[in-house]
Symmetry: C2
């Protein structure tokens, strides 16, 4: 994004005027409209949202990209099997919180890593994670992972990268699968960070690290949304949204997210 | 291996005496007999070698573990498609030299990385690699890889790790597959080496890094050996063996291999 351009971002809103026969005034639509109160779109990569299904804000979270990222990233990239241990970093975020819950639905032990005690409590007490810890108050990540994953780590779903990912790599089991969904610890560095070379561990453990973008699964979004909506209806999935009021506060919400201040999906209400 | 124990290693030899009905004196057998002139075995994980098929030494190379490692590592872990570019490090070694040739058989562009000019010539002039370079006389690996892989890297078969692997990771295409077969640059370090954190590149490129051990494919060894023997017979595969004479010179041969002095499979003749 260049200075002066509209900041990129997903949004959901109401069609006010349309010259596209696919959309009528009053339709609720979701797309990459950017940080603005009104947007003009050619209708490509815009999808209609059914407001009867759930609050329309969920089209940006559990029933949108974060939900699909968790669903396909965990199930397709990591292929967890019942009884396995799934560790998620950034576990209280929009994606991570769903990954742990989907892991539980599939019969796995879900262990979350987050950055505040209240997030840790949220994971274990509200979302049903089997265990979780606050990495900011933990000195020995490997020891904590061993304690919380007595059978080792079969799946590691990574949103953060860096030293937390190093620790997880040390504790993986034979045949482990690691999905790289995000590397938030690395995005804002002025200098690229150095870390220990651990690829040899993949040989010893016959393990796999795979990066992905949710767009790879575009042809299957419908399947994912139907399943997530079903789990929501059955009460098997819980989600949290955090609203900032007013577009003028969007930068603050964004920076807060980068600092890990959000619990669940960070949203900004730009009109009512 | 503890001091005083027999050094571990694969060997091929003749059965002198047997109380196991599966083996008769005169049979040629291959197994992990260690560095010794005579060995006692319970017959487990010992396979008979057909001396009519090829020189029995090939049971330690192209028709043995190195051959199977190249075959299954490339075809099963990397799944190369015709027209793709396959880069191999340690390309003049027992495994790497076969990986490039199998890639060529499958219609891929094969690019090798090796540590002497004579190895590079061997790869391009005798083994049919499309391109190769000497990393010891190259300062900018990334630039050299870009030059030799004008369409980018689709498959990287890694025997070495370290800075060469960093460079390859920078140059991968979307959907790339990286097999970690060896990390020889890392094995003899007194301090674990640090390197740049590059996992974010796996997200951008939706790419995969997978470690493996040939034993994963034990149930399919026969299929691999039959195919490799067929390619040998058809003249599609070339292999090189380098003999050291006398068991007293085995340590020298081993250290030479660790330093990259061997071309193809390093062997030691312990009796005639």
């Amino acid at each position: 994004v260049k200075i002066g351009e509209v900041m990129t971002g997903g949004a959901v809103g109401e069609v006010i005027e349309s010259r596209n026969p696919k959309f009528q005034p009053g339709d609720i639509v979701q797309g990459m409209f950017g940080w603005q109160q009104f947007a003009v779109s050619d209708g490509k990569e815009v999808r209609k949202v059914d407001p009867a299904l759930a609050p329309v804000s969920t089209s940006l979270g559990v029933l949108g990209m974060p939900g699909l990222t968790a669903y396909f990233g965990l199930l397709e990239i990591c292929r967890p099997k019942a009884g396995e241990t799934v560790v998620v970093s950034g576990a209280a975020g929009a994606v991570g919180s769903l990954v742990g819950q989907i892991a539980r639905i599939h019969g796995c032990r879900a262990v979350g890593i987050a950055g505040t005690d209240s997030k840790v409590l949220h994971l274990t007490d509200e979302l049903g994670f089997d265990a979780a810890f606050n990495y900011k108050t933990t000195s020995d990540y490997r020891a904590r992972l061993r304690e919380m994953c007595p059978s080792g780590i079969d799946v590691y779903f990574d949103n953060v990268g860096g030293v937390i990912t190093d620790a997880a790599l040390w504790e993986i089991n034979v045949g482990a699968r690691i999905a790289i969904c995000g590397q938030i610890s690395q995005y804002n560095l002025e200098q690229p960070e150095m870390g220990p070379r651990l690829l040899w561990q993949l040989i010893v453990k016959r393990a796999r690290i795979e990066g992905f973008l949710v767009f790879q699964f575009a042809s299957r979004y419908r399947e994912g949304l139907v399943q997530m909506a079903q789990w929501l209806k059955e009460g098997k999935l819980t989600y949290r949204e955090q609203f900032e009021e007013g577009i003028e506060n969007a930068p603050r919400a964004f920076l807060g997210m980068m600092r890990g201040e959000n619990l669940g999906k960070q949203l900004v209400r730009v009109s009512t």
